[in-house]
């Protein structure tokens, strides 16, 4: 078991190292002075440049430069943005939570919708309910996210006026920034319009969440359905039936756990797909998230932002993936209780 953790940790560290290396390489590959690309400062005097050159060990060769870069990354010195001249560490930590928040709610919605429907379809395998759920899921899966988002805005916001078109919260409400997750921040704040603001934030969340969770719901639905079919066809389910348990007892006591445990990592990993989809949807809904921010950076040729934004997002995905894997190993009894017992 500990060997396993070591291997995972090794993989994690190595991948993060490679990502850091790639982002370092970008500074050289982007047009312009590499030191400018790293720091985000257009140097006004040779003296100023010299100051940063010593900090980034420019004279020491690429290897030491990279080590210095890693050190600075670790200290939170990510350079500053060309466009806003703000420290990138702060920029990223303000925008990233908004994306994580959106993806997390979307994942929650997709699980709540996808798993029960998947069970329903799987338990009625080859019956009408199965076919209808499956064909609906195919339609949902085939709709492009950006198109769906536009249609939703067109109908639900512009025609019906039920939901706001863009943003995270109405400008009327001022919420002090704390964790970066808007709903949590609202609850933790002590403004007088707390519940109005909460309601407003929820209404802002609705459309972006809906548009990215439809695709993920269909994916989760199909993962669950396949697992249900497999489990319900297995020997131990037949054996449990043959022992005289009724269908509900069989499903409750032996079906659900066996269906969910093997697919848990797959389900959780949908978070990363969601994060990518969220980036697309963010720019449509002007959601102040990392995706929107990155796209702005790309338009403006803001190389330091692109470098650190990509590094932050990819590191997040890698860390998340590895943690899911480890958590799954910890709670799966087949792995947890691996030792054979002598009876």
């Amino acid at each position: 078991m500990s060997f396993y953790f070591l291997r995972r940790l090794n993989l994690l560290v190595f991948t993060l190292f490679m990502l850091a290396m790639a982002s370092f390489g970008l500074a050289y590959l982007f047009p312009g002075d590499y030191l400018t690309n790293l720091t985000g400062i257009h140097f006004e005097s040779e003296q100023q440049r010299q100051l940063y050159a010593t900090l980034y060990k420019e004279s020491d060769g690429v290897f030491w430069q990279f080590i210095a870069y890693l050190d600075l990354l670790w200290q939170g010195e990510w350079g500053q943005s060309f466009s806003s001249n703000q420290p990138l560490y702060q920029e990223v930590t303000t925008y990233l939570p908004a994306s994580i928040e959106l993806s997390a709610y979307a994942l929650f919605v997709s699980l709540v919708v996808g798993i029960p429907l998947g069970f329903l379809a799987g338990l009625r395998h080859n019956k009408l309910a199965d076919y209808s759920i499956l064909s609906m899921s195919f339609i949902g899966y085939s709709i492009p996210v950006f198109w769906l988002a536009l249609i939703l805005i067109l109908i639900l916001s512009l025609q019906m006026g039920w939901f706001p078109i863009s943003g995270r919260i109405s400008l009327l409400y001022y919420i002090p920034l704390d964790t970066g997750f808007i709903l949590i921040d609202i609850i933790r704040s002590d403004v007088s319009y707390k519940w109005d603001a909460f309601n407003d934030a929820l209404r802002h969340l609705f459309l972006p969440t809906l548009s990215i969770s439809i695709v993920t719901s269909t994916i989760i639905l199909r993962i669950t359905r396949r697992s249900v079919i497999e489990v319900m066809g297995s020997e131990y389910i037949k054996a449990a039936t043959a022992r005289g348990l009724n269908r509900y007892q069989v499903i409750l006591r032996h079906g659900i756990r066996n269906t969910i445990i093997p697919i848990m990592p797959q389900l959780a990993l949908q978070f990363t797909t969601l994060l990518t989809n969220a980036m697309i949807v963010e720019s449509i809904f002007s959601w102040p998230g990392i995706g929107n921010w990155l796209i702005q950076a790309i338009y403006q040729g803001d190389y330091p932002s692109i470098r650190s934004g990509m590094l932050a997002v990819s590191s997040l995905v890698v860390i998340f993936t590895v943690s899911i894997d480890i958590v799954h190993k910890i709670i799966d009894p087949q792995r947890l209780y691996r030792q054979r017992v002598k009876i």
């Binding site: 066809g233 020997e235 054996a239 043959a242 022992r243 066996n258 087949q334 054979r340 009876i343």
Partner: protein, 331 residues
């Protein structure tokens, strides 16, 4: 009235080469407090019969039977709920592959307790009932020879060795105090001493508690020591059935004779160093079943008529399905 009465059970299953009759007009009866052996080569369909009786077959297979009666009432005609009640209360089954018939994510204790019928637990507060369950469970495990019951109950199926798992399955089947026990190779791969313990336990239950047993096995020695009657299966067809003594003394079907002759310790009058007899060839696969009597291509007595399926005939209650049985000289 027999406890279980099966007449012309046919099971069609899907294989790569299309639909085939994996079981073809199988007949089997089990009387009250009888131990019946079901023997046949590997792949002859023994496990399929077991699964058909308890309804653990794939939904896509078709099962038809003239009779599949439990104490006179037809299991196929009754409602699902009624049938479930019978399998729950009266029939217990040990499947051939013990590990895969246990839920891998539930502890053995959970799965064993699930099988205790409520009337054995009695009434009381839930902790009293829990206490009672614990008692029943540990007593049952001791009976099948698992001494460290605490450890066993808290383990998961993949943690225990195969023979402990097999004993556990036996305990699990017996804990509901069934009328009929269907045991599909319950002692496979066990050590001889443990095997004889288990067989003794089963015989004792048969004598003291009138437990009927359908004993599926390859082990002719074990069968002859404990079974009262025997049904021989070849390739999904019942070829011969009757009292154990009659079958041993005078098999009527060429296949039964070959089967008995192939077990050296079983035929007493064997000269030292004489050749062991066996039929030529091997059991055909489901995709290449011969028409008529399925033994045809391998049968030393086969004639032209054998391309027609032989109807079951009988002498008293000794049934056989063969055009040219051994007691009639060949023309």
């Amino acid at each position: 009235m027999p406890l279980l009465d099966i007449k012309n059970l046919t099971l069609e299953i899907d294989t790569a080469g299309g639909r085939v009759k994996a079981l073809d007009k199988v007949n089997l009866t089990i009387d009250e407090s009888e131990i019946r052996a079901l023997v046949g080569e590997s792949g002859s369909g023994k496990s399929l019969i077991v699964k058909s009786i308890v309804g653990a077959i794939n939904d896509s297979w078709t099962l038809t039977a003239d009779r599949l009666n439990w104490k006179g009432s037809d299991l196929l005609a009754m409602s699902k709920e009624q049938r479930r009640k019978i399998t729950k209360d009266d029939i217990a089954v040990i499947f051939q592959n013990p590990v895969s018939s246990l839920d891998p994510t539930a502890s053995l204790g959970e799965q064993l307790e699930e099988n205790i019928p409520d009337h054995l637990v009695g009434k009381g507060w839930f902790w009293q009932r829990q206490e009672k369950r614990k008692q029943i469970v540990s007593r049952q495990l001791h009976k099948v020879g698992i001494k460290n019951h605490e450890l066993c109950l808290s383990s998961f199926p993949h943690q225990i060795s195969d023979d402990v798992c097999q004993k556990f399955m036996i305990a699990m089947a017996l804990v509901s105090e069934p009328k009929l026990l269907i045991a599909d190779e319950p002692t496979m791969g066990m050590e001889t001493t443990i095997k004889s313990q288990i067989l003794k336990l089963l015989s004792r239950l048969n004598q003291n508690r009138n437990l009927s047993i359908l004993f599926v096995s390859h082990d002719l020695l074990a069968i002859s020591s404990m079974c009262h009657s025997m049904t021989v299966l070849y390739c999904g067809q019942t070829v011969e059935s009757g009292r154990m003594t009659n079958l041993r003394k005078r098999p009527l079907h060429p296949y039964t004779k070959a089967l008995l002759d192939s077990a050296p310790s079983f035929s007493k009058d064997l000269l030292p160093k004489s050749n062991l007899s066996a039929l030529d060839g091997t059991i055909p696969t489901l995709q290449h079943l011969p028409i008529g009597c399925r033994l045809g291509p391998r049968c030393p007595r086969a004639q032209k008529e054998c391309v027609k399926i032989p109807a079951p005939r009988h002498i008293h209650n000794h049934y056989y399905s063969c055009h040219f049985p051994l007691h009639r000289p060949l023309k």
